[in-house]
Symmetry: C2
Subunit: 272 residues, 2 copies
Amino acid sequence: MAKWVFLNDAFVEEEKASLHFRDLSFQRGYGIFDFFRLIGNAPLFLEDHLDRFFSSAEKMHLEPPVDRADFKTIISQLIQKNDLPGTGIRLSLTGGYSEDGFTLARPNLVISQHYFTLPTKEQLQTGIKLISHPYQRQLSQIKTIDYLMAIWLQPLRIKHNADDILYHQNGVVSECPRSNFFLVTTDEKIITPLDDVLKGITRKKLLDMAGRHYPVEQRAVTMDDVKAAREAFITSTTKQILPVRQIDQVQFGKHDIADHLQQLFTAFIKAQ
Amino acid sequence: MAKWVFLNDAFVEEEKASLHFRDLSFQRGYGIFDFFRLIGNAPLFLEDHLDRFFSSAEKMHLEPPVDRADFKTIISQLIQKNDLPGTGIRLSLTGGYSEDGFTLARPNLVISQHYFTLPTKEQLQTGIKLISHPYQRQLSQIKTIDYLMAIWLQPLRIKHNADDILYHQNGVVSECPRSNFFLVTTDEKIITPLDDVLKGITRKKLLDMAGRHYPVEQRAVTMDDVKAAREAFITSTTKQILPVRQIDQVQFGKHDIADHLQQLFTAFIKAQ
């Protein structure tokens, strides 16, 4: 645990960082967040994460209590006070303390620091296993706190001895609960779903970077594309570029292009 | 506000009833609840609400920290301590304080007392206006805290000067965000959606009661059924039986069968 958390207008000790039960996150699951890594004590892709956080807030009718410049100051102070290099920072904004338990109130802001683990060497070498599940996230382009289905499906994931879940609907693939999904076609093109997904920051950086080495296409990706693919991988802030070895009964023998992208991405991060 | 709230294992003053930000309701919108009315200081349909609460908990992989007998004792003590006749009681259970912000932990339980308003005389006399919106609730048969879409749609509801929203998908009607939906056909049959809805306690009581006076059918209800209907109404713990005067461009001139059911329901409650 970190020592300090920023709550609305002040730094408080983490064990005291509580919200009243009238908050609409507790009452109605209503809130947004964003999460970025620290490289050492330096935020990675901070501007992109702030862009998305403010965009999520606006789309969800939530007004952050401090402006963008203040966010940067508070984040910088939090990093200094906690001094936990290599961890992550979460920006959270809720529907606030609602008197009737339904109507939006003044949002509550929490800026907290979290440990996280990067993929293991074994996961990077062998790739992970996904199981598919028919589902489409609601308000999918906004980074809300809605992970009801993701958590609800964990017993199924464990039963199938899988590492993560791949959502699809009517034969069209969207994303994993906390990652974007990519395929490499047999002609070495990189494809990823365009619509109805959360546009990850790692996804965005990867598309820019990969486009200099491979043909890249954002389009509808189907379960048939999955079956015909050369490779599959997922991306996220904490997973970076992580190869997939299996989706349901489909096995992928190769992951050398995913490995190449992972090397490029690691070098890209080092150059920030 | 009530004076006392039950939090996990003790009564605490309401202003001190807080949950740490690591709770999975705040982090991931993961939790369930139920809500029942007090008639005077007597819980209405308590056994039905406890049945549904324990069913929701089990389906969501959440184990309540106290058993059913203890729930009844705690509820009874809370009612005595607060002495707020005619209010409502909410039972809430969350995913708990999760160290990694994703894995289910020991659930947090909150039992809280709330003021609420019944429909106004004007609403009962003239009926309310609904607007339809294409949406299907996820895990719809479980009373989760997921009201993301419901709250997100409030500006649209207000813009259309409507009182509530009616969800439908592919031409099939399901429910309102916090109420069940009913039609009365021109041959005075009462119909209500069977699948993909939360089975309300008022819905259940109404179906039993109405079945003694009218033909009643639980089945797929379409937007075409809406257009052809004689009457429409919604039901919930706080709305009881509330006539609908308009859905989008469709107007309903009558609500005498809804009124009759409302009278029967009021008498039924008095007889409890």
